[in-house]
Each structure stands twice: as C-alpha cells, then as structure tokens.
C-alpha cells in the first residue's frame, strides 16, 4: 500500500510526512539534543533552530521569562550558522533518519536566498521553512512578515532558489493575517505554518524594569493556543487549498485534534518540548492509538470544524 494510505501519513502539497506531529523551530535545537528522549525517525519531522548565513550570537540575557501558561523569549535568533549546521548536524540527522525541515532567516532578501542556496546542495533536508518574523534591515527594520508586499517579494525570490517544498511561517503580529497568507502562497509557498510568537512583555513589579533585556519578547505556550487555533481556522477558510501546519501551545493530543479540525494538515510542537522533551514522540503514539481505535486516518480529521459553517471572525468581544 502507498504511504498516504497509512493512517497517520499526511501530504502537504509536495511535502509527504509519515505523521503530522512535527517540532517547532527554536524549541527543538538541531534535533540531536533530543536523542535521549525521542526517536527522531518516528516523528513527522523537526524544524531546526532558525539558520542564518553566519553564526549569530543573539541577544544579551535575560532572554526568557515565564508568564501565565506560557513564556516570553527574546533569544535573538542565536544559531550556529548554515555552514556549521550542514557540516556538524545534518549528517547525524540523516543517519538517524530524521525528517529535517531547515528553518531559515536573514536580515535581507539576499541573506535568505544565500542560506537557501547553501542548503540546496545538502542531502537530508525535507523542506525549507522561512521565518519571516524578522526585521528587514534594508527596510528600516520593519518585519518582512508585517507587509504582504515584503512577504511576496521575499518568498518569490526564495522560491526560485530551491526545488524543495517551501514552508512560509506566518507571524500573528501581521496587520492582516489572511493577506499575508495569500501573498506568501501566491508567491510560491507550498505550505504555510502558523503561528509564530505574539509580541508580549513582562515587567519586574519591584524595579519596573522589563524582564527581558530586549524589552519585548515572543509569547508562546498554551496561553496562545486559542489565538493560534482561530488563525488556522481563518486562513484555512480563506485559502482552502493551501496546506497548513498549525503551531501554538500544543502539548496534548486534544490540542492536536483541535488544530487538525481547524484545518491544519500537520502541527508543530514548540514550548512543550522544554517542559517535557519526550512530548513529540508521545503525541505520535497517542495519535496512532486514537486513529486505530476509530479506524480513522489523520487525513480524514483535517478541517472537520468547517462543516459547522463559517465561524464569524468578528471580534465578538463581550
């Protein structure tokens, strides 16, 4: 029987995955840090820490602090650089049989393209994921992801640079999420992953000093799940033919089922990896049991919430 008839297998455009449980960039290192906890060949895939052209130092500490049911981070995209990744990490990941998605960022369109080109030669990369939630230094630091045109221009350039499946990771802070999604998809993204972190802040009540040296940080964890779920539902509704990866606060099987129902064909587990490094493998097993007991395929679980009609995305405050 062909892969897609396996109950857990999912296809996102040109990207074929053995199951829909992936791990999110920046919360899973380069995968190898988890070999004591997870069989990397059993999870649907892993997204690497965001890779840049050169090794990047990141922000001065404090870089993280916790919040109700979540955390803030301003790591500043510290990473070993694409070259080092390909030399030091990728071969081992290939041996293990991991499905590796390289998460990529840059200061300029040129940076992104160069990183993607550097990866194009390397074996063992299943897809490229673009983190567009970073400042475009050529545009006065405005985030690529915060303007549909900047998003489109970046994605179309990267599109030309790789034959691999291209995942574009959307920012929930974009003024109009659906517009950004449409722009990314029309510019050549095969898959959209959402959401990245929401900009938040925490302040020390005694000293009145922001807890993170950067000032603001990205909010992640269960706290953001309802927002992420709504955004996945919203984009799935507006762009029904674009495959989505759902991200945001996932730590239990029920979270996975919610995101599938909202229209995600796969999910990425993020912050939960810090609390429980074996969570991704556990979710794969739980999803297997769930599908077996119901004789259901994961594919059949995708988008079920839309049967109940248009959930107004109006504010509904109060």
């Amino acid at each position: 029987m062909t892969a897609t008839t396996l109950p857990l297998a999912v296809r996102l455009g040109s990207l074929q995955l053995k199951n829909p449980i992936l791990t999110a960039s920046g919360t899973f290192g380069y995968g190898l840090e988890f070999t004591d906890f997870v069989d990397l060949s059993r999870i649907g895939g892993l997204c690497t820490k965001g890779l840049s052209l050169r090794p990047h130092a990141g922000n001065v500490p404090p870089r993280i602090c916790e919040t109700p049911a979540g955390m803030l981070n301003a790591i500043g995209l510290q990473n070993v650089g694409v070259e080092n990744f390909v030399k030091e990490k990728l071969p081992r990941l290939r041996e293990i049989g991991a499905t590796t998605i390289a998460n990529v960022w840059g200061d300029t369109e040129e940076d992104y393209v160069t990183v993607v080109e550097a990866l194009e030669g390397a074996d063992g990369i299943a897809a490229i994921e673009l983190n567009i939630s970073c400042p475009n230094v050529e545009k006065g630091g405005m985030l690529f992801g915060n303007s549909p045109s900047a998003t489109a221009s970046l994605v179309s350039r990267v599109r030309k640079a790789t034959k691999r499946p291209l995942v574009v990771k959307l920012s929930p802070n974009a003024p109009d999420l659906v517009e950004s999604a449409r722009a990314a998809s029309e510019a050549g993204a095969d898959v959209l992953s959402l959401i990245n972190t929401l900009v938040g802040m925490a302040i020390d009540p005694e000293t009145a000093k922001p807890r993170l040296s950067f000032g603001t940080g990205g909010l992640s964890g269960p706290a953001i799940k309802p927002i992420a779920l709504r955004m996945v539902f919203q984009v799935a509704r507006a762009l029904p033919r674009v495959p989505l990866m759902g991200i945001g606060g996932i730590s239990e099987l029920t979270d996975v089922l919610e995101f599938l129902a909202a229209g995600a064909s796969a999910v990425q587990v993020g912050t939960a990896n810090f609390k429980d490094p074996s969570v991704s493998g556990r979710l794969v097993r739980e999803l297997e049991t769930y599908c077996a007991s119901r004789e259901a395929t994961v594919a059949s679980l995708v988008g079920r919430a839309h049967r109940f009609g248009e959930a107004r995305d109006a504010g509904a405050e109060g």
Binding site: R63, T207, N273
Partner: protein
C-alpha cells in the same frame, strides 16, 4: 544518560523559614549524577510555575536510591516545593550540566569551597566526593545573618573538612563578607589551595573572581541563569563570555571557570 525521572517526595527538613531540604526517591537519577550537576524539577498540575526549575543535586544516598535538594524559597517554584506533601510525585529531568572536577588532584591536597547562603546547595555531595578522594577541604560558608546558614550541619562532619562561617552582621562566625574571610585565610597560607569551588549570588562571584585571579587559584564557579529547558535548546540561559559571545550555561556549565565569564557584561538580577 539524561532521562525524565518520576520521583516521590520522601521527606522535607526545615532549617529556618524559607530554607529547607527535600529528599526524593529516584534511584536511577541517584546512580547517574555527579557533584555539581543539576535536575529540572516539575511539580505536575500546578498553575505556577509554568516552566521547570533547576536545582543542584545537594546529595544522593545510593543505597536508598535517594536524591536530595537544598532549597531557598523565593517564588512559585520553590514555594511549590515547600508546600509539596510527602508522597507527592514530581518529575526530575537529569542529570544535567557538567559538574565539578577534582579527580586530577592527588590525595592529600587542600582545596577550598566558598558558598554564599543557598549557594551551599551543591556542596554536601561534593564534600563527600572530595573526602573519598582523600582531599582536605576548607569550607567557607557565608551569609547576611546566622539564619542564612541554618543548614550548616548538613555540611559538617565530612572526614577531612573544616567549616569556616562568616556573617555580614557578625551574628555567627566571623563578621564580614565570606569572600573577604576567604581572602584573608588564603593569603595567610604558604601553599595556595589546589582548587576553589564556589557557589552563591552573582555579587559574590564578581567579588571572588578578582581574588582567585590575584591568588592564582584555579577556580570552578557554579553559576545560575534563568533556564527554560536545562538541556541546551531554548538558549535562554546564556552567560556573556570572554572567549566567545555567550556560554550556554546549562550544557557548557553550570560549573564554569571565572576567567571565561565576561563579568562586566552581566546584568545584575532584578
């Protein structure tokens, strides 16, 4: 090998308000750990803290499969431990971090330990190991007042160790900063200490760094940072370094030689 251990709270010992030790049954972890290493602890089901918290292994009892932590209550995580009822189950992720090094020292040599308050946490375990290696230990234990040292018995009695106490208000042992007491003692010596092990607040470290440099003692500091994961993936725990931008303290540390740390770049704790 790192693992996420299920551990049962066997007993809690209170030394003074906000200072206590908790002993868990966790045989596999007890087997695997070395002095200076730590574990990331989670009390399941609690609304706070959301993330795990790091605690140095204070000591182990291999025969009974026990792991002990020395804790100072400062916020939700430590409070959860203070309130935890005996028999309750927690998760202990470990062993984590690099640990102290002493095996290169031949027996009979003299080493020093400088601990500030709860900074003493990792040392009961280390002192036993040093004793087994036939090394002689001068332990300098300091705090603001006597109550900060209420757990001192926990550090006494090891074969060949001497305990020197210091309090800023003079209510116990010598009056003054433990770093100064150590400095005076170290200078009086003919032969310098073969090694210095230290743990305490950042303020103590910054004072101690120039002293060990001046005295030319090889030192190992057990450092602290805000840790999101404890095994090198969140990159939250970095410490500004001399030889490169940052050290990832949960994997490259927490035990670090002072000369690698860029003290001037450290932001004092809020």
């Amino acid at each position: 090998m790192k693992a996420d251990h299920r551990a049962v709270l066997l007993r809690r010992k209170r030394f003074s308000t906000g200072l206590f030790s908790v002993t868990f049954e966790a045989p596999d972890l007890a087997q695997a750990v070395a002095p200076g290493q730590f574990a990331m602890l989670e009390v399941p089901g609690q609304i706070r803290p959301y993330l795990r918290r790091a605690y140095s292994i204070a000591d182990v009892a291999l025969s009974r499969g026990e792991v002990e932590f020395l804790v100072k209550t400062i916020g939700p995580g430590t409070r959860a431990l203070e309130d935890l009822s005996e028999g309750a189950v927690v998760r202990l992720l470990g062993p984590l971090g690099n640990g102290f090094s002493w095996t290169d020292l031949e027996s009979g040599r003299e080493v020093a330990i400088v601990a500030g308050g709860i900074g003493a946490a990792p040392f009961p375990f280390l002192i036993r190991a040093l004793g087994e290696a036939k090394l002689r230990v001068d332990l300098f234990l300091g705090g603001r007042r006597a109550s900060d040292l209420s757990f001192r018995d926990r550090l006494e009695g090891a074969a060949d160790s001497r305990l020197i106490l210091a309090t800023e208000d003079g209510s116990l042992g010598e009056r003054g900063f433990v770093t100064e007491v150590f400095r005076a003692a170290a200078r009086k010596r003919s032969a310098p200490y073969a090694r210095l092990f230290a743990c305490g607040p950042m303020a103590m470290f910054s004072a101690l760094a120039p002293i060990v440099a001046e005295l030319g003692i090889r030192a190992e500091f057990s450092t602290e940072a805000d840790m999101g994961c404890g095994f090198g993936v969140c990159l939250g725990c970095v410490i500004p370094a001399k030889d490169k931008p940052f050290l990832v303290s949960c994997v490259e540390g927490p035990i670090l030689p002072p000369e690698r740390i860029a003290w001037e770049k450290l932001r004092p704790h809020p």
